[in-house]
Amino acid sequence: MDFKFTDETQLLQEMVSEFTEKEIAPIAAEIDEEERFPEEVVAKMAELGFLGIPFPEEYGGAGMTNLDYVVAVEEISKACASTGVIVSAHTSLAAWPIYHFGTEEQKQKYLVPLASGEKLGAFGLTEPGAGSDAAGQETKAEDKGDHYLLNGNKIFITNGSYADIYVVFAMTDKEQGNRGISAFILEKGMPGFSFGTKEKKMGIRASATYELVFDDVKVPKENLLGELNKGFGVAMATLDGGRLGIGAQALGIAEGAFNEALAYVKEREQFGRPLSKFQYTQFRLADMYSRIEGAKLLLYRAACMKDEGVPYSAEAAMAKLVCSETAREITWQAVQLFGGYGYTREYPVERMMRDAKITEIYEGTSEVMKMVIWGKLNRM
C-alpha cells in the first residue's frame, strides 16, 4: 500500500491547480450568478487535454489514469463545481462508454473528437418517470430495418445543448424491462433531435442542464452502442465511473469550502482575537479536515481499483456517498464559520453550499448508493 501520488499525478495536479486558479476561480462567482456555461474555459481545457485524461493517446486522450482524472476534477471543483461536472459528465458519461463498449469505428468517429476535446459529450438516461428506477424508460427506439427510430425525451441532461455527441438510452424491447434497454450514440443536428427547457437550479448554475427531445430521430444502425438490449449494463457500468467523477467533484467542493474557512478563521477577529484562537473553532476545523481526508482515501481507492481493472461498483458507491455527504457537511460548516458573511454572495462558501447538494442526488442518489453497497454486502 502506497499513499503517495506518482510524479505524473503530482505534476498533473499542479498544472490543473494552476489552471484553475488562473482561469476558473476568477470567473466562478460570475458564471454562477449569470447561469452562464463557461464556453471559453471549456475551449481552453480542451486545448490542454483536460477532456480526455484517462483515454489512450491513440484515441486523442492524455494517456493517464482514472486516478489522474479524479484528481483533475477534484482540483477544478475546488474553485468551481459547475466546471467540474462539465468535465466529469463529458469524460465519464459520454467518452468512457464509447471507449469501453464502442466498436473501433465508433471510437474513431466519436471517441477521438471527444477525448481530444474537439467535441463535448453528454449522457441521456433520466426521464420524467425514470430517475432512480432507470428501467422505467419511456423513450423508444424502433428497428426500422436500416435505422432505429427514436421517440421520447430525457431530462436533467448535463452539458445539454452545448454537447455535440450524446450517449442516449431507449427501450428496444419494452416487455423485457431492464433487459430491453439499448444504448445509442446521437449527434447534435440529427433531424428530430432538439432541446427543451433549460433547468433553473439551486447550484451548479453554470452547468447547462437541458431536456433532450427526440421526435422521429433516425439513428443509423451503426450507432447502437454495445449489444442490442444490453443498454442497462452499459448505463450501470458507465455510472460506476461517473460516481468517481461526482465523488471528485464533491470532494473538491468540500476542500474548496474548507480552504476558505481555514483562511477566514485566521483573519476574522471577534471578542478580541482571531476565531482560530478559540478551541471550539480549532476542533471544528480538525473534524472537517479529518472528514475530508477520510473521504479522499475512499475516492482514490475506488479510482485505483478501476485502474486495476477489478470490480469497483460498491467502492465507487461508497466513495460517492461519503464524498457527497462530506461536501454537504463541510460547506454547511463553512457557512456557519463565516457567519452572516457566509450567507452572502460576497464569499464563495454560499455558492459552494448550494453546489454541494446536487452531489447527493445525481448519478445515483445517496439512497441508490446504499442499494449498490448493500448489493455487495448481500453477497458476502
Binding site: L11, L12, L48
Partner: protein, 269 residues
Amino acid sequence: MNILVCVKQVPDTTEIRIDPVKKTLIRDGVPSILNTFDAFALEQALQLKDKNPANVKIVVASMGPKQAETMLRDCLAVGANSAYLITDRKFGGSDTYATSYILSKAMKKIEEEEGSFDMIFCGKQAIDGDTAQVGPELAEHLGLHQITYAINITLNEDNTTALITREVDEGKIVVEARIPVLVTFTKTDDLRFASIMNKMKSKKAEIKEINYEDLEGIDDTKIGLKGSPTRVVKSFTPDVKTDGIIIREDDPNEAFEKFAEELEKAKLY
C-alpha cells in the same frame, strides 16, 4: 530562425524574506518559479514559432543550480525545442557581470550543438535581483546590438530584420533592428499553459548540462564571487508606505481646501 531564450529560476517574490545576518535572500521553503519577464520573453519566441513552426527553433538556457531543471522542463512543456542548464560550483556567487560573461561563453558552446543564434531573448530583469543588467551585458559581451523593454516583435519576410515595439515611460516606440539582435522583454501577452501531454513528455526530456570544463578559454578572474565586482553592502525590507490620498474635486478651491485639511491631519502644516 534560431532563438535563444535566457531564463532564470527565481524565488516567488511574494513570499520572500531576507536573512538579517547575511543580507541575502532566504531561498529555503520559498517556491521557485520561472522569472516572470523571462516567461514573457519565451512567450514572444513561442508566438514567432506559432506563426512558422517548421522554421523557428527555440533553445532555452539557464545558469543556476540543479533545481532549475524543473523550470527548464516547464519551458519545454510550453514549446521550447531544447534546454540547457549552465551549472558549476565555480559559477556560484556570480553577479550580473560574471553571469553575463559566463552566459556569453556558454552561448558559444550551445551554438556548436544548435547552430548560431539569430536572436537572443531575455526578460528585462529578474524579479528577485531587479537589476535589469544581465541582458544588456550579455549583448555587450557578444558585441550584439540590443533592444530593451520590448513588448512585441515581428519579423520581416526574409528574417533579416525585426520590428520591435518598446514600452517606455513616454509611451511606445517601434524600432527596426537588424538580425542578429538581443531583445529584453517586459510584460507582453498572457502566458500559455502546457498541455497535459507536453507536460508529461517534458518530464522525461533531456536537459543538457554545461559545466566549467565545457567552456574553453574562460577567464577565471571573471567568474564566481571573486570575478564579481558587485558588493552587497546591505539588504533590507523598505518601510511599508501607506496608500496615498487622491483628492478628486471638480472645483480647484475645494480641492485645495481638502488638500490643506489632509496636510493638517498629517501634521505637515
